[in-house]
Symmetry: C2
Subunit: 108 residues, 2 copies
């Protein structure tokens, strides 16, 4: 049985919250990594693929911030958590925003 | 004699810093107000036009965050500070980003 963890509806996704979520360099890198995935990925796979080096509690906090902000969706399947970007929801709510952020050069 | 207050060069504008600057609802509203101006405006004029109600030290902090992040440019002319969005610089550095943010609905 799969279930989706609580997340804001598309209409209630808040701009400031999304910007704050993606203002963090680690979360931004995670979001960029998620966009590159062509298959569903689990948390640890994304963290590994993104190359970010943070502790388990910290990455867990990042997942929650991303989910609570509406940037990602998390599906729990048994003991696995499948993460994906809410690309379509974000495009509907804030046209062009996610692409502009994820395509931007991250560092000077 | 007019002088421009210190600000990052276009190439050194940092994405995370810009997102954090605009994640604040008051600064976002200020940026939106600046975009609507057709003439050069001073600090107090913008604050008034934006309808934000914050103390002088707080608004002063917001100006600094916006300037340091590369979102705005401040020119000092005598005792007046003229503020403007760095629209072209931001478009060059992060194509589509500023428009996507400023055009987004601010509230659910």
């Amino acid at each position: 049985m799969a279930r989706t963890l609580p997340q804001p509806t598309t209409d209630s996704i808040d701009l400031s919250t999304v910007l704050a979520a993606l203002a963090d360099p680690v979360r931004l890198e995670i979001a960029r990594t998620l966009r590159r995935q062509t298959e569903p990925v689990n948390c640890s796979g994304v963290a590994e693929a993104s190359g970010v080096e943070v502790s388990a509690p910290t990455i867990s906090h990042h997942w929650k911030v991303l989910r609570d902000s509406g940037v990602t969706s998390t599906e729990v399947v048994g003991r696995t958590r499948i993460i994906q970007l809410r690309t379509e929801d974000l495009e509907e709510r804030f046209p062009g925003l996610l692409a502009a952020i994820l395509d931007a050069p991250a560092r000077p």
